[in-house]
């Protein structure tokens, strides 16, 4: 009886709160859908840093909300609809797998602006945005190629989607450019977030003689294992040096804040429209964690030069000649891959062993 009363009271309070917030109009409401927990300290964490940047920028003029650990698929649609119905003006859906759910829900809520991360389907009220992570991977691939002594680099990959394949190809190109003997060992774990499995994958790779680990999954598990086993690794999405003070050489940092602020500002001004954004090192969407003091001076200098060239727009990682894995020509000498080709990239380039799962 007491329990029921408490529950009822809690529920009533919940309604009162939402009711109050709704009655209080004007502040722009921004909603965020996260695929993992904020505490992953990786992908989702950096998106939440972006949300906090929006709050810091606009103060009272904005209200943000988020739902974390939303599975990709039917559940995502339900959460998005619920969020849209609650009067949110702009919704950021921050995982590739939310693509179709976002398009479906957006059709039902034409007055709500949707922003889908890393996808390629747009509508009048659906924008897409992503970062050119492959530029970051080119830089860390170059460092990995220089730092490996066994010439074996391990790569923990999530799902065989273009985003991930692009990263592997870019990292391999860069590693190969500084170390012709380098070999990539790719392990697909088919999850974005499962620390246990990510750690097992890291262990299995180290067992095969890998001494530098790259990852395209979201948790710092591989970094922890790298630290323990005395090999090198790179922070993923955020600075993970806490987990691997000796292991982390640098890391790719996702910087979403400026974009989120710009888009929320557009909603406030009434100028929001559907766009396709793909920013990289140049625009500041891809950043780097501080370089480890384990990097020799020449490696550090080369990495800094590469970053500078990317920032100046002078270097494109996918510049020919590049062959596909089967030896056929992909890019002729001097040819630069266009964004369309990169967005749909679904093959390994020449030199990478193993079959790309489909």
């Amino acid at each position: 009886m007491k329990f029921t009363k408490t529950l009822a009271a809690a529920a009533a309070m919940g309604f009162a709160l939402t009711g109050g917030a709704m009655a209080d109009d004007h502040p722009v409401k921004a909603g965020f859908i996260y695929v993992g927990p904020i505490g992953d300290l990786g992908w989702t964490w950096t998106h939440d840093q972006g949300r906090l940047a929006v709050e810091a920028e606009f103060g009272d003029k904005v209200e943000t909300s988020y739902v974390e650990s939303v599975p990709e698929g039917a559940d995502a649609e339900r959460v998005m609809s619920q969020m849209a119905r609650s009067g949110v003006d702009i919704i950021f859906t921050t995982s590739f797998g939310y693509m179709d759910p976002t398009i479906n829900v957006a059709a039902d809520f034409p007055d709500v602006a949707f922003e889908h991360a890393t996808g390629y389907k747009r509508a009048d009220n659906v924008s897409t945005y992503s970062a050119r992570f492959y530029e970051g991977r080119y830089v860390i691939g170059e460092i990995a190629g220089a730092m490996t002594e066994t010439n074996k680099i391990g790569y923990i990959a999530s799902f065989p989607i273009p985003e991930v394949v692009r990263g592997i190809n870019a990292a391999y190109l860069a590693a190969k450019s500084v170390n012709p003997d380098v070999e990539f060992k790719v392990v697909w774990v088919y999850t974005w977030f499962d620390p246990g499995k990510e750690a097992d994958a890291a262990n299995a790779l180290i067992e095969q003689g890998v001494d530098v680990i790259m990852q395209h999954t979201d948790s710092p598990a591989a970094m922890t294992i790298a630290e323990e086993k005395g090999v090198y690794a790179f922070g993923q999405a955020s600075d993970m040096s806490n987990f691997g003070p000796n292991a982390q050489l640098t890391g790719i940092i996702d910087v979403w804040g400026p974009y989120y602020i710009e888009r929320v500002q557009a909603v406030m001004d009434g100028t929001w429209e559907s766009t396709d954004t793909w920013d990289g090192v140049q625009e500041g969407m891809v950043g780097f964690a501080p370089f480890s003091d384990k990097l020799p001076d020449d490696v550090r200098a080369r990495a800094e030069a590469t970053i500078a060239a990317l920032a100046a727009g002078e270097l494109h990682p996918f510049t020919g000649p590049i062959n596909k894995q089967d030896g056929s020509v992909w890019l002729a000498d001097g040819e630069v891959a266009d964004d369309g080709a990169l967005a749909g990239l679904n093959f390994y380039i020449e030199g990478i062993d193993g079959e790309l799962p489909n």
Binding site: G36, P195, K197, G354
Partner: protein
């Protein structure tokens, strides 16, 4: 294909590490189910164990305190389930699911200050002379203590259920709670004790994840291991020895597919990732096809609330 660089010993060591959290949680749940209670909150108790174990280990700078902390944390949170289902007679399925959601949320809250901290290392039990033996030394004599503990626990549970009077009483509660009650046994209290044991085991399994398998705290880090443990209990048809088989098979397939990929052998990871789940489903289908056999194994009062009406 070149299998020569595949090191089976290293693989088995990894396999045991992946299987142990499942084994611990499953053997605890087996006792709970033998007493007639279905607790679907294993995942929630594990994640609580992972965070309380982590907090205890870092606070006291001792991995052993961490294990203890995990077990205590799991047992404490399981008491809410025990109280609700045994004394307030709430629905076990709904309460168990709620326990998982509650556990995930509470663990995230408790652990927020512990992100990015490294726990004290769990020592390996090295036996002078034996651990240095080729192959056998690595296989048998150089694991961390939890692995030996988990196997000893299975032995103890088997002995308790099949060879002790107390175990017989516990099984009686699971098979026919009215009969047990009419013989003068306090069904609710016995079940409450079993639930706490299950919670402690799940908590220990969780602490193993955050202290040994991935020595770090990350929200949601058990990532579904608790559900697998639940499936393994059914897979094992409530027999302790088969729980070892199930847990090691599951860990084995996980590690095998990762190792083969690391080796550069092209296999479809997607299919291998599915295999443990498919095997579990197949076993469930085979078992349920023969209703008599299934009912021989499953505790007759599983999931039914007991209320003494007199």
């Amino acid at each position: 294909m070149d299998f020569s660089s595949l090191n089976p010993v290293a693989m088995i060591v990894l396999l045991i590490g992946a299987a142990t959290p499942i084994l611990l949680a499953a053997i605890g749940e087996l006792v709970v189910e033998k007493s007639g209670v279905l607790n679907l909150g294993v995942e929630g108790m594990m994640i609580i164990g992972a965070v309380t174990g982590f907090i205890a280990a870092t606070t006291f700078d001792s991995p052993m305190m961490g294990l203890l902390g995990g077990a205590v944390g799991g047992a404490l949170v399981s008491m809410t389930f025990g109280f609700l289902t045994q004394y307030l007679l709430s629905n076990q399925v709904a309460t168990g699911l709620a326990l998982t959601l509650f556990g995930l949320g509470l663990a995230a809250l408790m652990g927020s200050a512990y992100n990015g901290i490294r726990p004290p290392r769990m020592p390996r039990l090295e036996v002078e002379g034996l651990s240095d033996l080729p192959i056998v030394g690595k296989l048998l004599f150089s694991h961390d203590p939890v692995i030996y503990l988990s196997l000893a626990l299975v032995l103890a549970v088997w002995w308790f259920l099949n060879r002790s009077r107390a175990g017989l009483v516990l099984r009686a509660c699971g098979e026919n709670h009215e009969a047990a009650h009419s013989l003068g046994y306090n069904v609710q209290l016995i079940r409450f004790g079993a639930i706490m044991f299950g919670g402690a085991c799940a908590g220990l399994g969780g602490a193993y994840v955050s202290l040994v398998r991935v020595p770090q705290w990350t929200e949601g880090m058990t990532a579904g291991v608790g559900w697998i443990a639940l499936a393994i209990v059914v897979f094992a048809s409530w027999k302790p020895w088969r729980v070892i088989l199930g847990a090691y098979m599951f860990g084995g397939i996980t590690i095998l597919q990762l190792s083969l990929q690391a080796l550069g052998i092209s296999i479809s990871g997607a299919y291998l990732s599915m295999t443990p789940y498919i095997v579990t489903i197949v076993v469930l289908v085979i078992m349920s096809a023969d209703r008599k056999r299934a009912s021989l194994n499953a505790p007759a009062c599983l999931g039914r609330s007991f209320h003494a009406s007199h």
